[in-house]
């Protein structure tokens, strides 16, 4: 069976099949035709509205019905209240055999009795139903529904002489055709107008469809009971049970939805099948006596035959699973519970067996997938599983590192060392190594020369005994030292200037005993503070030693043996004069650099054996680690360890300027990424710290958004724009009084979120340590306020009022 259609001159309101499902009659405002249904097309047999001149409203059909006993008879319901009976065997005007002009308003529905010939019933907008014998000129019986309008009438296929009528007030009535005085049963089915009903072909069920977007199935065998409710997306104008499929019903919407939906009443949320051929809403559906083919008419002026094989199955595309991972790494998983095992135990066993023995496991998927057989369609249930991760390592680690990292306030090497220790403590040895390497590469002695190309000069001064006040923060100072040196040295090798400059910035710590523990000559990267040790020392040594590590290291080197290993001489060969020898060189050089340098320098070795006067910078020896550092950071960022990348960048401070291959947008990307991650873990303080320490305006401005709080005068509600404690309109500052000392609060004002009373921060703090309720007592008249006031303080806000 194929899907095909035929276009009409106007919208089609209704359609009806003949007894043996070979011909179809369609009716509309301007359409009234009979087609025979061929293999893949419709063939017009008869056009009852052939003459355009005939504008008789009796021809404008709301509904059309084909007698199920006599193939010659058609009945139509007209918008002008006429019910006409047509005899297809006759010609011309004679075809219209009867024209009942009894209804006062539009007739909505006509219905032939399924077995008794000549019996016809109509339902009208005037609230009545009329029972006709088509051989008689007038209605045999009139049924008054006592409602405004009857939208559908249907003879019961099960109970003789019975028909159902539905009305716009939401009620369903069951009538006995022989008793026109009173209906047998009446019940309210819907909260809106009921537009259609349909008796189930076998079961004692009546389906009703309504504007409330539901289709309800009622069991009428005893007292009407609601069996199923289908929720649809639009008002339903027409419904029809699918033959031979007990639970399937077809529906067409009255508005919005152009598709024809076939529902399984047991799964009332999603259509079993959907037909989307119509371009406008469908007005009617008739099944061709079998479940695979049906016809439909539409407002889009078409008549369609649909084949079930062309249906779309929305449920098949519906995603049956859901997965989500949260911050901790917990996985929530929802999935369709397989119905295979539930439905039939034996088959389930067989399947299990097949699965294990199957060479191609793909066969498994076909069974558990969404394309279930029809009888499993309705068995749709999901389970939700939470896989709680026991591997908190990553999360905890992130959390711990974020909270314990030191990003500012200490010297660079100190921070690196601290962070390395933290990383090691939490098992991140690779991160620890990064910090150590960064420290080695960028700590003062190694880093600065890479910029200023001068090494020796700094160490030619005797620094013991000098004490300098260090009243600026370490971080700033360090960068200043660096910058100053760069400036001075770039200006020329004027050692005189340099002397004073460096002295200014290099305090000495001859009494700093803890640093005497240094093993002289060891690379600094191997030196490490214990976490607590560092704190104690620094606390004890206080502000004067903020520069500690940097300087202490200088000191340490000075205290070592001044006899230098041979390598040191080699390295300085290119430096021809001026500065005294860089005594501590050997201890810092990594083997790489040595190897690199030795080659070009070897030629000088014999010529200049003594180096005391060499001071010119040796340019070639300076290996710039920045590319490698950038690569390392990028690697960490790529691997999702944005924490390391962002923290290293932050700690590097001004040194990051040497990372020339790392553009600002990447830096910004990393910082924002890290901030986002911190926010996810609710580490707002640390996120704020990162923002504060940021060197990129776009990041540091994040802190300045939405920081303004505006207050209104509590008496006249005028916004307080000028100052927070004096209203310009009422010239009063009464509302700004402290609830405790009754003085105007200037500066920090703390208030309760619940009752909005407040006052000086200190006063309020003191009060709530002793009391649980608001200090403000009102006169008894303001009961509402009093209740609030006697309530517990909910939450305090602080506002700085100026």
């Amino acid at each position: 069976m194929a899907t095909f259609n035929v276009a009409q001159d106007g919208p089609v309101n209704a359609l009806a099949l003949n007894r043996d499902n070979t011909q179809i009659a369609i009716g509309g405002r301007n359409v009234f035709k009979v087609y025979s249904i061929e293999e893949d097309s419709f063939k017009e047999i008869c056009n009852l509205r052939a003459s355009k001149s005939n504008l008789n409203l009796s021809f404008s059909c709301n509904d059309v019905a084909w007698s199920s006993t006599d193939d010659h008879y058609l009945a139509t319901a007209a918008t002008n209240g006429h019910v006409c009976v047509w005899n297809l065997t006759k010609m011309g005007k004679a075809m219209q055999e009867q024209d009942y002009q009894e209804h006062k308003r539009t007739v909505n529905k006509v219905n032939f009795h399924a077995s008794e010939p000549n019996k016809l019933i109509s339902g009208s907008q005037d609230g009545t139903m009329r029972y006709f014998d088509i051989r008689c000129k007038n209605a045999v019986a009139i049924f008054y529904s006592n409602t405004e309008s009857v939208r559908d009438v249907q003879f019961s296929p099960h109970i003789p002489h019975t028909f159902a009528a539905v009305s716009e007030n939401g009620s369903v009535q069951i009538w006995d055709i022989r008793k026109s005085d009173k209906c047998q049963q009446q019940f309210t089915a819907h909260s809106g107008p009921v537009f259609a009903c349909d008796w189930h072909p076998e079961s004692p069920w009546l389906a009703t469809a309504s504007r409330d977007k539901t289709i309800k199935v009622w069991d009428l065998s005893n007292k009407p009971t609601l069996e199923y409710t289908i929720h649809t997306i639009a008002s339903i104008g027409h419904i029809k049970w699918r033959p031979q499929r007990k639970y399937h019903i077809a529906s067409c919407a009255l508005v919005v939805d152009c598709s024809i939906n076939i529902w399984d009443v047991r799964r009332p949320y999603i259509p079993f099948a959907q037909f989307n051929e119509h371009k406008d809403v469908a007005s009617g559906v008739v099944w061709r006596g079998e479940p695979q083919v049906f016809l439909s008419s539409g407002r889009d002026c078409t008549l369609y035959q649909h084949s079930f094989s062309d249906a779309t199955r929305p449920a098949n595309k519906a995603n049956p699973q859901g997965v989500s991972i949260n911050n901790k790494g917990d996985v929530i998983y929802t999935y369709r519970i397989s119905t295979n095992n539930i439905s039939t135990k034996p088959t389930g066993l067989i399947r299990l067996k097949t699965i294990s023995s199957l060479a191609d496991p793909l066969a498994v998927s076909a069974k558990s997938s969404n394309t279930l057989s029809n009888d499993q369609f309705h068995q749709a249930t999901s389970a939700m599983l939470l896989f709680q991760t026991m591997l908190y390592q990553d999360t905890n680690c992130f959390y711990a590192l974020a909270t314990n990292y030191m990003l500012s306030g200490r010297s660079f090497s100190e921070m690196c060392e601290h962070n390395a220790a933290v990383a090691k403590d939490f098992g991140k040895s690779n991160v620890c190594v990064i910090w150590r390497i960064i420290k080695t590469m960028y700590s003062e002695e190694f880093y600065e020369p890479t910029i200023n190309h001068s090494y020796g000069e700094k160490y030619c001064f005797k620094m013991q005994g000098m004490n300098f006040p260090n009243d600026y923060s370490n971080d700033d100072q360090r960068s200043k030292v660096g910058e100053n040196c760069v400036q001075k040295l770039n200006a020329g090798d004027d050692s005189g200037n340099l002397d004073t400059d460096i002295i200014d910035h290099v305090p000495a710590f001859c009494n700093f005993s803890s640093y005497n523990n240094f093993k002289f000559g060891l690379p600094k990267g191997d030196f490490s503070f214990g976490e607590n040790e560092l704190d104690i020392e620094l606390d004890a040594l206080s502000i004067d030693f903020r520069n500690s590590l940097q300087n202490s290291q200088h000191l340490g080197q000075q205290q070592q043996d001044w006899t230098l290993p041979n390598e040191a001489f080699n390295l300085r060969h290119e430096i021809l004069d001026r500065s005294p020898p860089p005594e501590n060189f050997s201890s810092h050089y990594s083997p790489d650099i040595n190897d690199e340098c030795q080659q070009p320098l070897s030629q000088f070795e014999d010529q200049v054996p003594n180096l005391v006067s060499i001071s010119k910078p040796l340019e070639k020896v300076h290996w710039d680690p920045s590319n490698i550092v950038v690569d390392a950071l990028k690697y960490h960022a790529t691997m999702g360890d944005i924490q390391t990348a962002a923290c290293v960048l932050t700690v590097l401070g001004e040194r990051r300027k040497s990372l020339k291959t790392l553009d600002e947008s990447t830096q910004e990307h990393w910082l924002l990424g890290y901030i986002e991650l911190l926010n996810r873990y609710k580490l707002w303080n640390i996120a704020t710290e990162i923002i504060k320490l940021s060197w990129l305006p776009s990041v540091s401005q994040l802190n300045q958004q939405s920081t303004r709080i505006n207050t209104n005068c509590s008496q006249c509600a005028k916004p307080l724009q000028r100052i927070g404690w004096l209203c310009d309109r009422c010239h009063s500052s009464e509302y700004a009084l402290c609830s405790i000392c009754h003085q105007v609060v200037k500066g920090l004002y703390a208030w309760c979120q619940g009752c909005s009373h407040g006052g000086h921060l200190e006063h309020m703090q003191e009060w709530i340590t002793k009391h649980k309720v608001c200090p403000t007592e009102f006169s008894t008249t303001i009961t509402n306020n009093k209740i609030l006031c006697s309530a517990k303080f909910t939450k305090f806000y602080n506002l700085n009022r100026f």
Partner: protein, 350 residues
């Protein structure tokens, strides 16, 4: 390792989506039964139902959280051809000794689609409060709430015609300014003849339009889900795709002269990994918050997890499965390692 716990969702039909909020302490589920449920985690880690309401008059396909900066806001999309934005409200006048009851109100209903709305996603926070939807007829719509305090006003900013039957979309969540807003859209159209099923769209600042910059021609099977990896600091984008297998693509912006002149990014698309472990249709892919672990679920009933190792190659690291489907309640997860290995490709947890 994982501890498994079943939560009785009591949805009356299939659950189509589940989403954690930004902090991972709330969860929303949506189902064909037209209900959306919100779950809260208490301090003991137990999940309890916080709210449940009928959200649509059709199956609710997807549910997604907005960034908490905008409040407690959810978006849903449905078979009923609408997408909706919901906000949680704390009720006024709490009773004595009780906290105000919380409930969700519909702030807006986006009714522009003429077919089922198959996916809805909030855009990256940096773009403001924006929402992308895609529908079965292949139209991508971008909505914006110009005033973030007024969630009831959304304007339809862009309508982009894509191929019919879009099934899923994903925003590129990159924080980098050099990455313009980017969307990936997948289609679940079943015919292989229609070519690529994944499309990458980019918003061009110059033309103020969304332009298709790439069609992933290597994927011709229906696509059920796709997800950009959270990009916290990568220079390239990683896109995971659920189709007949799990596919991981690296999308690297190429900065050649052409792309700079035209203002349209050219992407170098590399398949980083392709996993057929599910041996069946893959329905979902999902990243952890750092974009280091990918979870996928398929018709085989497993949740499989993949991780990139230090040499940038992806490896399967875990497969999770509940106990037998009947009875559904099981105390422990069955790991492949412990349970019977019925498929040789299953990789145990290491």
């Amino acid at each position: 390792m994982f501890e498994v716990q079943e939560i009785n969702a009591e949805h009356k039909d299939l659950i189509h989506d589940v989403a954690y909020d930004f902090y991972g302490q709330r969860m929303a589920t949506c189902s064909s039964d037209q209900y959306v449920k919100v779950w809260d985690q208490n301090n003991d880690g137990k999940w309890s139902l916080s709210s449940s309401w009928k959200a649509h008059s059709g199956s609710v396909w997807k549910v997604t959280w907005a960034h908490p900066e905008f409040g407690q806001v959810l978006a849903t999309c449905s078979f009923d051809r609408t997408a909706a934005v919901w906000e949680e409200i704390v009720g006024e006048n709490p009773g004595p000794g009780e906290r105000g009851t919380r409930y969700w109100v519909r702030r807006t209903n986006l009714v522009d689609s003429r077919t089922s709305v198959t996916d809805v996603k909030f855009g990256p926070k940096t773009q403001g409060l924006i929402l992308a939807t895609c529908s079965a007829d292949g139209i991508i719509r971008i909505y914006e709430a110009p005033d973030v305090m007024n969630l009831s006003q959304w304007t339809l900013q862009h309508e982009v015609q894509c191929k019919p039957s879009c099934s899923c979309l994903s925003w590129n969540p990159s924080f980098s300014k050099i990455h313009p807003p980017m969307l990936a859209v997948g289609c679940d159209d079943t015919s292989a003849a229609t070519g690529g099923k994944v499309f990458i769209y980019e918003f061009s600042e110059n033309s103020r339009r969304w332009t298709k910059i790439e069609t992933i021609s290597s994927i011709t099977e229906p696509v059920h889900d796709l997800a950009f990896s959270p990009n916290l600091g990568r220079s390239y984008h990683v896109l995971a795709i659920a189709t007949k297998d799990v596919r991981i693509l690296n999308l690297t912006p190429v900065n050649d002269n052409n792309s700079i002149q035209s203002g349209i990014t050219k992407l170098d698309v590399q398949t980083a990994a392709q996993f057929e472990d599910h041996l069946s249709t893959v329905w979902r892919v999902c990243w952890n918050i750092t974009g280091t672990i990918l979870a996928s679920s398929g018709d085989d009933g497993y949740v499989r997890m993949f991780k990139m190792n230090y040499i940038n190659s992806w490896k399967s690291v875990a497969a999770l499965k509940a106990g037998l489907p009947t009875p559904p309640i099981s105390q422990t997860a069955r790991y492949i390692k412990l349970g019977a290995i019925s498929q040789p490709r299953e990789v145990p947890w290491h």
